[in-house]
């Protein structure tokens, strides 16, 4: 089984690579269209800024390639946000797989909430195959300043300042806002679930 991680200008891809290695999967990091198309599973990770990431994807025509994929695709963190329609981060048009879903910035009216949200938060209202054997209210590791609102594709929610989508799914496209590669055993289970879809 071949798993590829899409290579682009939003690191830290290494953490994902190591996490897959820990569960016995040797993934290939590539931006080669043919290799991505031929893969059984595609992981679209990313930590960084939305507009520069989108620009990079467009320049290499990876934007069109990603939305055309038929195999299971997992967007992580910024990867998930880029699969949405639009991000408030530098007013960026995104890939639009999660149609009409906007990504907004956390606004901390109270100083009690730091932005970015950094640390372990719980995930609720879990739906779909990504969360097989993952219990309701499991903790996962998050680092983000922007979030996807609750919408028709929501398969997991988290609360920070207010509830938002911590997981999304539309057909073969999956997205998680947290970092499964850094979320201890729960994260490993989620990665395994994705890899056995």
């Amino acid at each position: 089984m071949k798993t590829v991680i899409i290579k682009y200008n939003a690191g830290n891809i290494q953490s994902v690579l190591f996490a897959l290695e820990r569960i016995g999967i040797q993934a290939v990091v590539t931006d080669d269209a043919e290799e991505i198309l031929a893969a059984e599973k595609v992981i679209f990770p990313g930590v960084g800024e939305a507009s520069t990431a989108m620009q990079y994807l467009k320049e290499r025509e990876l934007d069109k390639l990603i939305v055309s994929l038929k195999q299971p695709v997992l967007g992580i963190c910024l990867g998930m946000q880029l699969l949405c329609a639009y991000s408030e981060e530098n007013d960026t048009s995104c890939l639009g797989v999660f149609e009409q879903v906007p990504v907004r910035k956390f606004r901390n009216k109270e100083t009690a909430f730091k932005v970015p949200q950094t640390g372990w938060n719980s995930i609720q209202q879990l739906k779909g195959p990504l969360f097989t054997q993952v219990k309701e209210n499991e903790y996962c590791y998050f680092v983000h300043s922007y979030y996807a609102i609750l919408n028709e594709f929501t398969t997991g929610t988290t609360e920070y300042i207010h509830p938002y989508s911590s997981a999304l799914q539309r057909n073969n496209f999956y997205g998680v806002q947290f970092h499964p590669e850094k979320s201890a055993k729960a994260g490993e289970q989620i990665l395994k679930n994705f890899l056995t879809l």
């Binding site: 690191g11 830290n12 290494q14 953490s15 190591f18 996490a19 290695e21 820990r22 930590v47 960084g48 800024e49 901390n108 100083t111 730091k114 932005v115 970015p116 949200q117 950094t118 640390g119 372990w120 938060n121 719980s122 903790y139 590791y141 998050f142 680092v143 609360e159 920070y160 970092h179 590669e181 850094k182 979320s183 201890a184 055993k185 994260g187 490993e188």
Partner: protein, 251 residues
């Protein structure tokens, strides 16, 4: 609900874990990878590795150790010690570190924080601040506490945040190694002055000290070393205690 983080810190010297009192008198605390794995099992939320003897010749050894850690642990970890350049950071991130921490080098050349945030994102840039009470003001000290500076801890915290730090790791040199509790006053002052998370460090001796630093000083995370290494306070037991105190923790 976002939980408060418990972070064991491993001071590394020549590939071994050591812990000193007031940064002196080092004693051996074992193999870092083994210890890191034990902490993962016990429910630590994150780990920090500080290479206290990091020199140019030893950076390759550190990179190899970081890779070894990354292949074994499934929670975030930060690596610090002797980081001066964007290139130093790239090597550590490529070997699997999730975050890096800078201290003296950022005080010497604050632009380093901007460069790192720009290149790798704020989420992986932790600015470590060592603070010491000098004439009733919390001042920044560098080089592991040996060198005084003219910066106040509060001003430097604000500046580091403005330059793009993703988190602050605040160590009170007055409290470090004493087991008399965290420095609540400066932790609270800084935590309320910046919009980024503050990790409190230095002085943990009892479970109540952790409860205090979360409740009274509004810390987002608390870091300690020897009390965890030598199992004086097991991580799991500490988290259960905090839960009873109605502090949100991951259990």
């Amino acid at each position: 609900m976002l939980t408060k983080r418990i972070i064991p810190c491993l001071d590394i010297k020549d590939g071994r874990t050591v812990k000193g009192t007031n940064f002196l008198e080092l004693r051996d605390a074992g193999d870092p990878v083994e210890l890191a794995m034990r902490y993962c099992e016990e429910g630590a939320d994150e780990l920090v590795f500080l290479d206290i003897t990091a020199t140019t010749e030893k950076r390759k050894t550190l990179a190899a150790l970081v890779r070894e850690i990354a292949t074994h642990i499934n929670i975030p970890f930060t690596v610090g010690g002797g980081i001066n350049t964007v290139e130093d950071v790239r090597v550590l991130l490529d070997n699997g570190a999730d975050k890096i921490s800078v201290n003296t080098s950022a005080v010497k050349r604050p632009e380093l924080i901007n460069e790192l945030a720009m290149q790798f994102g704020s989420q992986c840039v932790v600015v470590a601040i060592d603070a010491k009470l000098i004439n009733n003001t919390w001042m920044v000290v560098t080089h592991g506490g040996r060198t005084p500076t003219s910066l106040t801890a509060l001003d430097w915290a604000r500046e580091a945040a403005a330059r793009g730090a993703g988190e602050l790791l605040l160590t009170s040199m007055e409290n470090d190694g004493t087991k008399n509790g965290f420095a609540l006053d400066i932790t609270k002052t800084i935590s309320e002055a910046v919009a980024i998370p503050v990790i409190a460090s230095g002085g943990a001796g009892t479970m109540e000290h952790f409860s205090d630093v979360f409740k009274k000083a509004n810390a987002d995370a608390a870091l300690a070393a020897s009390i965890f290494h030598f199992r004086e306070i097991p991580v799991q037991e500490l988290k259960r205690y905090l839960q009873v105190q109605q502090i949100p923790v991951r259990l």
